[in-house]
Structures are given as structure tokens and as C-alpha cells.
């Protein structure tokens, strides 16, 4: 394995000169530049990043931390992150924490160990103070889901308004009995979407029915269970708004199980527009967040932060889209 020394010897110059060529400094004569480049080619030299990283005290790696990498919700965000990162010569480390604190801490340690230069945080159960302390020394950005008590920049959509729009759409279709399958309200987005749900109903003079609102985990089965409960009601809903497509697909499964039809008997709206939303039967009406763009912008924010940890960075709220398909 050739090192910079070998190249220098081969080109009969100093290692400093080789380094300058490598890093495209401009104060170098064309002649020696060519000589060096020839030597590099001849020796098949590749810079050893371990040396460079130590010297620069940078790893050139950023971490995208999310609860689960298999959750299709994050796929496009990750694409955005990777595109911007690659363009800026960073490598992206993608990791799922299973919402497990120990695992999360393992990854946060990479910051202290200098193995990553920054973190894009999708959704964490850490205490706000913990993140705040960390963010004083390291570059961290909140992406998609965030906490208001955490004092670092975030990027997201207006969850309340999105939810409001979804419900308004159902009302326009003639629905009055609309259920909400929400996820745990410890999450900000869940609280916001509930607010939008309530506001839309109130505005249309529809009374809020407690038995129509459920707080469940994010899994497919939770969607099913919630519908099972709803169908046992004396007057079941004619429409359901689920805060994730997976929950919505679970809901549809259970509705079919009960020999009812979607959307004829019960309409269903999801959230996220994951790839499968278009594949399910019936295809799913849902709210699409600009995932790819969210990933891009989050990364740009992070890189700014890495370059200068003291930059003031503004939060970003992006637009969303209601995508109407067969389930409504």
C-alpha cells in the first residue's frame, strides 16, 4: 500500500508538495503538479483517510439516527441525506435504535470518540436536557419529529394543519363520524395532529367523541386492534384518520375482516405516503411529506453546523400534500 512518502520519492518532491496536489492548492507549478499526478497514478496511490482524519480531527462521517431503518417512512429522507452528504464528501452512517436508550447512547458515543462529525436526529426518547448538553459541544439537528424543549434547530412540517386538512377533506365528503387513530401523545407530532383533528371537527360543528380517539403504538396490529374496538361501538365511525400509513393499512385489514368495504362503508386516510400506500388494496389516501427535501435540508443545516458550531440556524417548516386515492 503506497503512502504519501512513496509518492513523494517517486516524484522526487517533498511530501508537502504531494499533499498540496492532493488538496488542490493553487500555489503549485503546473510542471510539478503533473509529475506528482503521474507518480500517484503509477503507484496507484489512494490517500489513507485514517491519517487525514487524525490530522484534520474530522471523520467525514455523519450519523442519521432513527427508531427503525426498516420503517419505510424514513427511506426517502435518507436518500436526501445521502445525496447532500455525498456531494459534500461526507459518508452517511444510518442507524436504527429500536427506541432503545442503550443503543442510542452507543451511537452518541461516536461523537465523543470523534468517529462522526454530527447527527441528524429523527426521533429520540432522550431527555431534552441530555440532548441540549450534547448539542453544546457537537453538531446535532432535529429532523421531522422534534421536541420544543430541545434548543437545537429542527426541520418539519405543520402537523396540526396537515391533520386539519385531512379531516376537512373527510367532512367535505360528507363524513361526520370520524375516528382518530393516533400514536402516543408523548410525541409532539401526535399532539399536533390531534389538535388539528379537534379543530377541524369543532369548526364544522361536529362534537368530539372520546370513544373515537385512540392512542396506540405504531405497529400494523395496533391499527387492527383499534378498528376492532371502533366496530364494537353502537355507532361506529364512517371514516378513520390514522396518523401513519401502517396504522391505516392495519385498519383496512380489520375492516375487510369484518366484511365491510373501504371506502363505501368506512373511508380511511393515512399519513406519510410510504411506498406501500399505493400498493395496498384499496390504495391509500394519505398525507405526503416532502421526505426527500426534508432529508436534504436537514443535511445542509447539519453541515453548516459542523463548519461552525456557533452559527445561528433557522428552523424550517416545509409544505405537505394531501394525496387522494381509492380509500376515501
Amino acid at each position: 500500500m503506497a503512502t504519501i512518502k512513496d509518492v513523494a520519492r517517486e516524484a522526487r518532491v517533498s511530501v508537502a508538495t504531494v499533499s498540496r496536489v492532493l488538496n488542490k492548492h493553487d500555489n503549485i507549478s503546473l510542471k510539478t503538479k503533473l509529475v506528482v499526478e503521474n507518480a500517484i497514478e503509477k503507484l496507484n496511490y489512494e490517500p489513507n483517510m485514517l491519517g487525514r482524519n487524525l490530522r484534520r480531527s474530522k471523520s467525514g462521517m455523519i450519523l442519521a439516527l432513527m427508531p427503525s431503518i426498516s420503517n419505510p417512512f424514513y427511506s426517502q429522507i435518507v436518500e436526501g441525506i445521502e445525496d447532500i452528504a455525498t456531494k459534500n464528501n461526507y459518508t452517511v452512517l444510518i442507524s436504527g435504535t429500536d427506541s432503545n436508550m442503550d443503543k442510542e447512547n452507543l451511537y452518541f458515543n461516536l461523537l465523543k470518540q470523534k468517529l462522526i462529525d454530527g447527527v441528524i436526529l429523527m426521533n429520540t426518547l432522550q431527555e431534552p436536557e441530555f440532548i441540549n448538553t450534547l448539542a453544546k459541544k457537537y453538531a446535532i439537528i432535529q429532523c421531522s419529529e422534534y421536541s420544543e424543549e430541545v434548543d437545537i434547530p429542527f426541520i418539519s412540517i405543520d402537523n396540526k394543519k396537515a391533520s386539519y386538512d385531512a379531516i376537512k377533506f373527510l367532512i367535505k365528503l360528507g363524513h361526520k363520524d370520524i375516528a382518530l387513530i393516533n400514536s402516543d401523545e408523548e410525541f409532539l407530532y401526535a399532539r399536533r395532529r390531534k389538535e388539528g383533528y379537534i379543530e377541524a371537527l369543532k369548526e364544522s360543528g361536529i362534537s368530539i367523541r372520546e370513544e373515537f380517539m385512540g392512542q396506540v403504538g405504531l405497529g400494523f396490529d395496533n391499527g387492527r386492534r383499534m378498528v376492532k374496538r371502533l366496530l364494537k361501538l353502537e355507532k361506529p365511525p364512517t371514516a378513520i384518520f390514522a396518523v401513519s400509513d401502517i396504522l391505516a393499512i392495519g385498519a383496512i385489514k380489520e375492516i375487510h375482516e369484518a366484511k365491510l368495504r373501504v371506502p363505501e362503508d368506512i373511508a380511511v386516510i393515512g399519513f406519510d405516503n410510504i411506498e406501500f400506500a399505493n400498493m395496498s388494496t384499496p390504495s391509500l389516501t394519505t398525507i405526503a411529506q416532502p421526505m426527500y427535501q426534508i432529508g436534504c435540508e436537514a443535511t445542509k443545516m447539519l453541515l453548516k453546523r459542523i463548519d461552525n458550531i456557533d452559527t445561528k440556524i433557522d428552523n424550517l417548516i416545509l409544505d405537505y400534500n394531501l394525496i387522494i386515492r381509492e380509500s376515501t
Copy 2:
């Protein structure tokens, strides 16, 4: 940021001693060990991995390279990889190449740059010679999909036999007109599964019909298109074996579109047992590979290889399972 020097000063010992404590050498007195550990705690010291990595000429990182990280097929494999890697103090870099050669090469370069210690290769379009050359100098393992012309260890299942079993199962249910939605036969697994399909039919005295076999891409829409074609036949099939769950789900979607029922009019079997196979309506009969275990074993093989590039490592063929659900 405290360094090993600071710790040494604080503990009034040499950096060598601190290093020994850090690396759990045994030739060190309990007393100094305690002193050093106190200093580490007091200064909140974390080893700088950039220094350690350079010195050891290792990055402690392995790469899991697959066509697409959003393909749920790989999720559990990745889990296995991460578990074993973490247990051995490695960090896993997960990357999707979109079957794009440029992107792939970018990642292979990480090997030369010393940023990764080895690669678990899921599915690549690279020429066998390219991989072979690379594998002489670097630790590489083939996982799940592999090439027979590549001379590095692989881990997989018996795709021919799995396919054979699926078809035999359909025949046992009374089906005679069985279609095959295969993926591109440039892939070994596609060729193998076709062999199994043909062998099962022949063995049961069912003649092979060319118009029942299709080679398509892996996307959902390809499953739909293929079914569209099959339904136009004078005598359409009564059962379909799709070589991936996504294709199978696409097929079902199109069957429903044609106002036919699954499995009453047409039975469908998939392959992979992705999470959604159990969520779709009807739930999908499919072949389950031991993904998690595949990931674990692949990683063990790779780590062996990293420790000693010259070890002879045996290939591994694991078992699979036919999971019977509603679609048959």
C-alpha cells in the same frame, strides 16, 4: 477535550500506562490501574478513535452493501449484521447502491481509503474479475445473492429447492396452470428458482408453457404488468409463483383490479416473507429465508476474514420455510 496525555499527567503515570489500562493489558498493578481509572473518570476522557484507528490501521467499520436499503427484504439481514458487529466492537455502515456502478465504486473506494475494514456484498452488478481482484487484498463476503464466478465465500439458501417446494405445494392444492413471475435471469437466484419451477412441473407431468414465464424487474408495477399479460391469455393460470413478495403483491393488486379473487380464482405465492406479506389482503403465502441468521453468519464470516485474510472460509447454505397464509 481530554487526551491520553492529560490522563497520564492527572494520574502521574506515562501515556503507555494509560494505554495499557485502556486496552486491558494484564501486566499492570491494581493500584496504578485504579489511579488511572480515576483520572479517566475525573477528566471525562474518551479515547479518540481517529488516533487509535491510525495507529492500528483499522477503522472498526464494516460495510453492508445492498441495492436498496428501503427494500424490506434486507431489513432483518441488517439486524443480524448489526448485532454481531456490535458485539465485536464494529460499527456497520449500511448503503444502498441503486444498482448504480458509480455509487458502488464510491463505496468500494472506502476500502482503499482504509475507512472500512470489510464488505458484506448483497447483490452487485460488478464484473466477477473486479470483485475477485478486490477480494485478494480486502475482506469481502457475498450474502444471499452471489455469483459462482466470484471466488469469495458466500452464504445463501438453496433457491432451486425452495422454488421447487413452492410449486409442489401449488400442485398439491390441485393447480396445473402455474405461472412464474421471475426477475432478471442475470441473477443466479432467478435462474435457480426457474430451474426449481421447471423441475417441479416436469416431475408432475405438467408441460412447461413459455407464455407462463416472465422475466421482469423487481418493482411492484412489474408484478401488475405481468398479470395483465397473463390474464389476456386464452387460458390464464390458476396460480402464480412470484419470485418476490413485492411482485406478488403487485400481482394480487392487478388480479383484484380484474374483479377476480385471490385465492379462489388465482392463488399467489411470494418469496421473502417481508413484513408486509402478513399485512396485505389477503395475507401472502411465501417462502421465508432465515434473514436474521443469514446476516449473523455473514458477519461472522467477514470478521474471520478481516482477522486473517488468508483463512479458508466455507460457504454456508441455510434452511428456509414455506409459510402458508390466505393467498393460496
